[in-house]
Amino acid sequence: MSVSTPTDIAQVKERNRALIQEVLEVYPAKSAKRRAKHLNVSEEGKSDCGVKSNIKSIPGVMTIRGCAYAGSKGVVWGPIKDMIHISHGPVGCGQYSWAARRNYYIGTTGIDTFVTMQFTSDFQEKDIVFGGDKKLAKIMDEIEMLFPLNKGITVQSECPIGLIGDDIEAVSKSKSKEYGGKTIVPVRCEGFRGVSQSLGHHIANDAVRDWVFDKVGDKEPTFEPSPYDVAIIGDYNIGGDAWSSRILLEEMGLRVIAQWSGDGSIAELEATPKAKLNVLHCYRSMNYISRHMEEKYGIPWVEYNFFGPSKIEESLRKIASYFDESIQENAEKVIARYRALTDAVIAKYKPRLQGKTVMLYVGGLRPRHVIGAYEDLGMEVVGTGYEFGHNDDYQRTAQHYVKDGTLIYDDVTGYEFEKFVDKIQPDLVGSGIKEKYVFQKMGVPFRQMHSWDYSGPYHGYDGFAIFARDMDMAINSPVWSMAPTPWKAGESDTMAIAAE
């Protein structure tokens, strides 16, 4: 079934609408009504994708979403490398998020950097009964004893902390004073707060505002400011993404004074209010702190997209437009310098990928930002949706990224996603570890678009070459032709649909 020719766009829309109706039929009425608001077909010219978002998941379904703790510890705070992040509560949350996100960093783990470690208060029943504040204070003393080079501590609250009424703020304040003003940040990111990891990002941003920025106050930075100082905001350095982005900004003549939060340090957080411009990659997770810096310190912020050459060029020019002509000229030089590389990558991989269709379901900015990179390779995104997007994400998606007729699914359930993929039969699905094996069993090539399947970086020009290679290796692997059992041709449901 082909969906890529513009002539059958009406047919595509009709099929997608029918598909939505079909998946809704299996739900009890109350749930069908709720889920219907999250599924739609994009219409050209509309200001958003026509779906509700950032609403509670319905219980009892396989939502792919995580929790506020995952948003704060797992995404925003966890990668700050020279601080120790305590998973405060029972052992599990810290264990499952331990080093799972590949936030690459440079440092000596366990001595001056701590990202791939799991520090937990390992709550026991008595801590629930009597409260965990005393234990937390003692934990901080033990951290000071065993890790003298740590530059600060955060307390990442798990579910019970808020429920039993612990006062982690008081403990943090008194210990900070005791240690001569060390940065200690309590973060109320209990997993039951909000509807997904999204609230965790927001809470984590607010903690940076209240416990880092407000504490630093007017303290002078440790470096001489320059007119070209920028901060990278919202890049978690998965597989080195922030590094392959940073190198381009530096080549343009900008000076990156801070990187958030992949390979980030507390000194960089503290320096950020001195930046001339904040360049924001993951809008969803760090727009809050960027807006705060704009209001309080007058620092403008600009979103950028470093996936694929078209968007990289656009973004480099946009960033340069905030600076003088020398930077703008440099941006053109950077674009020209890398053109040979991107031409060679496209020449090599586009013939192998041209016309292939993709369905995405990811978090943060990726459900829209990677669309351009696929298009640079001649591919088409036919369905997309956000794990924890808000309406402003869907607005950006509709206005700048998706084509008419694209299937949109917000907070998709496992059931819906399987059905959609089964019926549409895209050439590639890009989603996470929980979805990966489901679709591979169905014989559909898959890439993890949260973690790049342990590859990467995917950002920047250097990353685009890897992105292209990885999509080729996923789609054109010989394994997929082996999936159907030859002596059972025609028996399986999937194949029957594919043959329709």
Binding site: Y27, P28, K56, S57, P59, G60, V61, G66, C67, A70, G89, P90, V91, G92, C93, Y96, I106, T108, T109, G110, F119, T120, S121, D122, E125, I128, E142, I143, L146, L149, P160, G162, L163, I164, F192, R193, G194, Q197, T222, S244, R246, I247, D263, S265, A267, E268, K348, G432, E435, Y437, K441, M442, G456, D462, A465, I466, A483, T485, S492, D493
Partner: protein, 519 residues
């Protein structure tokens, strides 16, 4: 520019180029406000000392790099072993996202599990509505034959009553009155994943045997000759269960695996996604009450389940993740005794082949010192096998092992001269292990994927056995139980020893006189 379309470099190579190295050095010196290199070096060396070890062991509140997970993970593990069973975790949804990811990363398989997605309002008013709606949704969408409910710490702190909630959900017609919904309370602040396995397994058996939460008459036990088998929480479930079934079939024992995860975490790639596959049928789970006896492969995973079964009149026997000759002998002989069958010659031959392999290879292991960590039963099974191979365990550590486990380990060490210099460390974590590796200087470390940080920091080569194994593929498909499993473990240990030998003898004109082609 370092990148090249013809020879695409990813993170392994890309960042080793000068452009990136320079950029990262600038970042560090200008903006990170780093500690001086000499200071980092000083602390690094200090952290290797006895003094640091003493400080490290004086910790009372902080846990660093624990080798354990939380209860509901174990409950999910137990539940997926039953036919078309959907695990349902009552609490906030982030937990379930973590369990699904964790299992998928280990087994490289999908893991189906739902939650009741409790948020702030449920924290205030309780999670009843979430349970009522959640069960209805789960039942209508995923068409399970059974939904096995467990709790998270959140539901436990607010005190939700699963029994009453499930009853109410049925009254409100979320699912049919006769639909099987066993449940277990599995607070994450008690025990670990092995406790969760135990609670969930007991909950499931209790449901079928003791009158389905007062909705059916209790089953009357009519003893037969069959044997029940419990694997406990086991990262090798796929390989181990298939091997155990092969052994039972060979011995002509009638058996029921209680919680058979081998098929659901090993489904084929053939164009169809099977959400459910294999598993113990619900009928078999109920009929398991009539068995002659129940064998648990992991004592510390079945501390509540086995006594529950014993109360119903069955014989019970528990092992500690038996690996190797003597442990497998005991297992096989107990099965034969309990089932009243003979041990077939073919099994004796398999045994002889493993003895043969040990005789061929033990010289490379004899006298080598091992540090071992893992779940309490696995740590025991591994230590016993290492001693059988002539190796000397010097440290055996279990974050979720308690005093009773440590005493049992000491008995094992006392039983053999190979255990003379070993100490068991209950309730300790991998940061304790790090200190021990520096001060006790074993030759090899046996543990799960997280041990690679210990290998990097201490230089002690890691032999990957345990759960989770994220960074090596397909290990879970190979058994560690039975004589064949023992062979796999032997080969895993030997391969790492040989690799290490080659790596430490390959310097031309310095050490390569020992870079032998025959070992």
């Amino acid at each position: 520019m370092p990148q090249d379309a013809d020879q695409v470099k990813d993170h392994f190579e890309l960042f080793r180029g000068d452009e990136y190295k320079d950029m990262l050095a600038r970042k560090r010196s200008e903006f990170e406000n780093p500690h001086p290199d000499a200071e980092i070096e000083r602390v690094k060396e200090w952290a290797k000392t006895e003094e640091y070890k003493d400080l490290n062991f004086s910790r009372e509140a902080l846990t660093i790099n624990p080798a354990k997970a939380c209860q509901p993970l174990g409950a999910v593990f137990a539940a997926v072993g039953f036919e078309a069973t959907l695990p349902f975790v009552h609490g906030s949804q982030g937990c379930v996202a973590y369990y699904r990811s964790h299992f998928s990363r280990h087994f490289k398989e999908p893991t189906s599990c739902v939650s009741s997605s409790m948020t702030e309002d449920a924290a205030v008013f309780g999670g009843l509505t979430n349970m009522v709606d959640g069960l209805a949704n789960a039942y209508s969408m995923y068409k399970p034959k059974m939904i096995a409910v467990a709790t998270t710490c959140m539901a436990e702190v607010i005190g939700d009553d699963l029994n009453a909630f499930i009853k109410t959900a049925k009254e409100k017609e979320s699912l049919p009155a006769e639909f099987d919904v066993p449940f277990a309370h599995t607070p994450a602040f008690v025990g670990s994943h092995i406790t969760g396995y135990d609670n969930a397994m007991k909950g499931i058996l209790e449901h079928f045997w003791d009158g389905k939460a007062k909705t059916a008459p209790k089953l009357e036990r009519v003893p037969n000759g069959s044997i029940n088998f419990l694997n406990g929480f086991d990262g090798y479930a796929v390989g181990n269960l298939r091997e155990v079934k092969r052994i039972f079939d060979m011995m002509q024992v009638e058996y029921t695996i209680l919680g058979d995860q081998s098929d659901v975490w090993d489904t084929p790639t053939d164009g169809t996604f099977r959400m459910y596959d294999g598993g113990t049928t619900l009928e078999d789970a109920a009929n398991a009450i009539h068995a002659k006896g129940t064998i648990s492969m992991q004592e510390y995973c079945t501390e509540k389940t086995l006594p529950f079964i014993a109360v119903h009149g069955q014989e019970t026997a528990a092992f500690n993740h038996p690996i190797g000759i003597e442990a497998t002998d005991s297992f096989v002989m107990e099965v034969a005794r309990m089932a009243g069958v003979e041990i077939p010659d073919e099994l004796a031959k398999e045994r002889g082949r493993l003895v043969d392999a040990i005789a061929d290879s033990n010289a490379h292991i004899h006298g080598k010192k091992f540090a071992i960590y893992g779940d309490p039963d696995l740590a025991y099974g591994l230590a016993k096998f290492v001693m059988e191979l002539g190796g000397e365990p010097v440290v055996v550590l279990s974050t979720n092992g308690g005093k009773a486990w440590a005493a049992k380990m000491q008995e094992l060490f006392d039983s053999s001269p190979f255990g003379a210099n070993c100490e068991a460390y209950p309730g300790k974590d991998l940061w304790h292990m790090r200190s021990l590796l520096f001060t006790e200087a074993p030759d090899f470390l046996i543990g799960n994927t997280y041990g690679k940080y210990l290998e990097r920091d201490t230089g002690v080569p890691l032999i990957r056995i345990g759960f989770p194994i994220f960074d090596r593929h397909h290990k879970h498909r190979y058994p560690v139980w039975g004589y064949q499993g023992g062979l796999n473990v032997l080969v895993t240990i030997l391969d790492r020893i040989f690799e290490h030998m080659d790596a430490t003898t390959n310097v031309p004109s310095k050490t390569d006189y020992s870079y032998d082609i025959i070992r």
